[in-house]
Symmetry: C2
Subunit: 198 residues, 2 copies
Amino acid sequence: MPKVTEEHRLARRAQIVAAARTCVIEQGFHKTTMADVIQESGLSAGAVYSYFKSKEAIVAAIAEDALSAIDELFEKLLASAEPLSPLMALERTIAHVVTVAEAPGGDVTRVAVQAWAESLRNEEIHEVAKGKYCQLRDHFLDIVRRAQADGTVDPDVDPLHIAQVMFGMIPGFVLQRLLIGDVTPETYSAGLRALLRQ
Amino acid sequence: MPKVTEEHRLARRAQIVAAARTCVIEQGFHKTTMADVIQESGLSAGAVYSYFKSKEAIVAAIAEDALSAIDELFEKLLASAEPLSPLMALERTIAHVVTVAEAPGGDVTRVAVQAWAESLRNEEIHEVAKGKYCQLRDHFLDIVRRAQADGTVDPDVDPLHIAQVMFGMIPGFVLQRLLIGDVTPETYSAGLRALLRQ
């Protein structure tokens, strides 16, 4: 496929995903229809459907895009030469969440919260959310195994149980940021440093 | 007011709140209408409206009921004679969340997740959620101050920042329990013990 066509395809796809983000942030998942996304995107219905068959598929693409940069973040963490600690991984992840949330195109953590609610009654969205969160938690699992090897975490504890707690700190940060509004990477970092073994 | 009448009033109120829980769990917040709650409750529209003017008011009552037992939990924790640690408070809170979630009448944590999503676009629900979560976080703040006095937590760190992280561990437990399904108070406890200073 010629390069210009592939670029065009990716730009169109991004345009649809951005339109869907805007719609879900403004109206919630439930009220958003494919017609809304088509109108917001400025593309034809045929064009939009040629990329995505349903709003569930677009939400999967939003999740895919939002989490794509996080794979790189964890790769960098694992490549670090110094001993890796849970604190370090959590601080980097939370800073990253805020960077992604504040990026142009609407706060994607708002879409995530809509997806959590929708997951409880929509099997397709549930599968997307479960898959993405298992993938993210697996990153923490890699961190834990590395930290256990580095001696910063007790090697006798099941790494999955530690990864559950580490991953489990992220939604609470996101929710407090959106609903209460007084958490920042700095306040969380201070709290984490006081609570965690180092 | 004669006692029987007050009892009757409380029973009716509980009947409406239970009906709303069922509706929100089955249909989500958005699709649930007052007409649905009225039908589910088996009461007349006039009866339901004499207790609650809107579904937002019923959701506030669901939150009130779900969190009422938690005040008592924290009172007990603070009354304990032994030195209080963040670990102890978190373990008790998570065990309590599962007890409340598994109580008859439908898993109220599912209603909570719906309320998180609705909060982002409904100011009335936002105020309810913010108020309730600040109340819950204030309990953790009391725990942190006590733990700082007991010497189990660094007294030089802002207790609010520590309370943010402690409170922030609960939504991630709730979400993993609902979306992934492999966390229990026991797995979380093992993870917490490995991660937290004790």
